[in-house]
């Protein structure tokens, strides 16, 4: 079936040959250009996907010093494995999967928790409330609300933060996220709902209900 979409590489509208989930003459041409050794084609690929890779890495890796290096390693891996890309998924899904797997390996190597709450020193929601009841901070005042939300997402289990980023910032469907994380769609949906509930509760505790709804 013919379908018009925005090209992953050049950003222009291109005619895509959509066979179910499958990709695109245009993407094939661009991948071929990269494999033929065109640095500009690869640079364009990096530019178009650095946000996606960055969001996965920044959400999963707490250590700020390692984030940029890890992003670079991911793109090097992408380049090395590009000849093995069989176009059986969207290129962005394939790239996000490499980013996720690389971060996962890093986390395993560093023995960091993936599914546990990453609040400092085992801080619970009640501890958080106790700390902040003495020094309540306005939800809307001072720093931007989205920064406050980011701070709270950093406290969630890594996998929850990653799913939140992929769903809300990359507009990915449950199917795409499940393809990246290699877990069933139902699990992704359940994790997403739990993540948002947990985030809402954390924000409710940290900031007053009225400020949240303001």
């Amino acid at each position: 079936m013919l379908q018009i979409e925005i090209c992953n590489f050049c950003g222009l509208n291109s005619v895509y040959y959509n066979m179910g989930n499958h990709v695109t003459e245009s993407a094939r041409q661009h991948v071929a250009q990269i494999l033929a050794g065109d640095p500009n084609a690869f640079k364009l690929l990096v530019k178009n996907h650095e946000r996606l890779v960055g969001q996965v890495v920044f959400r999963m890796i707490i250590n700020e010093a390692d984030r940029e290096d890890l992003c670079q390693d991911i793109f090097v891996k992408i380049y090395r494995n590009l000849s093995g890309f069989r176009f059986d998924s969207k290129l962005s899904t394939w790239i996000a999967r490499i980013a996720f797997t690389t971060c996962l390996n890093y986390i395993e190597k560093k023995k960091l928790p993936l599914y546990e709450d990453t609040s400092p020193e085992g801080q619970t929601i009640d501890d958080c409330a106790a700390v902040n009841s003495t020094n309540p901070e306005s939800w809307t005042g001072g720093r931007q609300a989205s920064i406050k939300v980011c701070e709270e997402i950093d406290q969630l289990p890594v996998i929850y933060g990653t799913i939140l980023s992929l769903f809300h910032l990359q507009d990915m469907s449950y199917a795409e996220i499940s393809d990246i994380l290699r877990m069933p769609s139902g699990t992704v949906k359940s994790y997403l709902f739990r993540a948002r509930k947990m985030l809402k509760e954390r924000l409710q505790v940290r900031y007053s209900m009225e400020e949240l709804c303001a």
Partner: protein
């Protein structure tokens, strides 16, 4: 009668469906449940407040991009890869070669435009050799321990003679243009050599 409020998952599901699918795409059974939920929301301020909070949260989540990679990240990554780095190095060296030749030609042109008689006439090399400081240094080196005396006026005189003669030479026809062209060529030469080995070292360092 006890009212059953909407739970978190029902509210999130409702908002997700409203954000992603038009009403006609929602399956029949789900559509009816959504209608029921909407009826409940019309009469329940508690659930309505929850919905408002989730809506606000979703809005903030859509804006919560925390990823800040440097602006030149794509170039950095691309040219850290050996095949691309080699290509760029070759291209830059070719460019540098062209500008090196251009610099030589413009230098020759510039020198040909200078008033050499004026320069040689005014530049007193003999005066430089007579510098007190130099003599004192030579004395120290050859074994004498006397401290060098420094005669700034006598040291400066031959230098100022030289700069004056350059200024006068530049005033002659075409030499100023030659100087500007030479400077431009040298600057472009430096620029084409700049950043030649960008990030190439990162992937050669030892693993942790």
């Amino acid at each position: 009668m006890r009212v059953r409020h909407l739970n978190d998952f029902e509210i999130q599901g409702l908002l997700d469906r409203r954000a992603t699918a038009p009403e006609s795409d929602v399956p029949g059974e789900r559509y009816l449940k959504d209608l029921e939920a909407q009826e409940h929301l019309d009469n329940c301020p508690t659930c309505l407040a929850e919905v408002a909070m989730y809506r606000r949260l979703f809005g903030e989540l859509d804006e919560s991009n925390e990823c800040h990679l440097p602006r030149n990240f794509a170039s950095k990554v691309t040219f850290s890869l050996p095949p691309f780095r080699a290509r760029r190095t070759k291209a830059r060296l070719q460019m540098a070669g062209i500008w090196a030749v251009a610099s030589m030609v413009s230098l020759a042109w510039f020198l040909s435009k200078l008033d050499w008689n004026g320069i040689v006439g005014k530049l007193s090399l003999y005066g430089v050799l007579k510098l007190t400081a130099l003599k004192a240094w030579l004395t120290t080196v050859t074994g004498g321990l006397s401290l060098p005396s420094f005669d700034l006026v006598r040291f400066w005189k031959p230098v100022s003679n030289f700069t004056n003669s350059i200024e006068q030479a530049l005033a002659t026809d075409g030499s100023a243009v030659g100087f500007v062209v030479l400077t431009a060529c040298v600057l472009i030469l430096i620029a084409s050599l700049d950043n030649l080995y960008l990030t190439s070292t990162r992937h050669h360092r030892k693993p942790h």
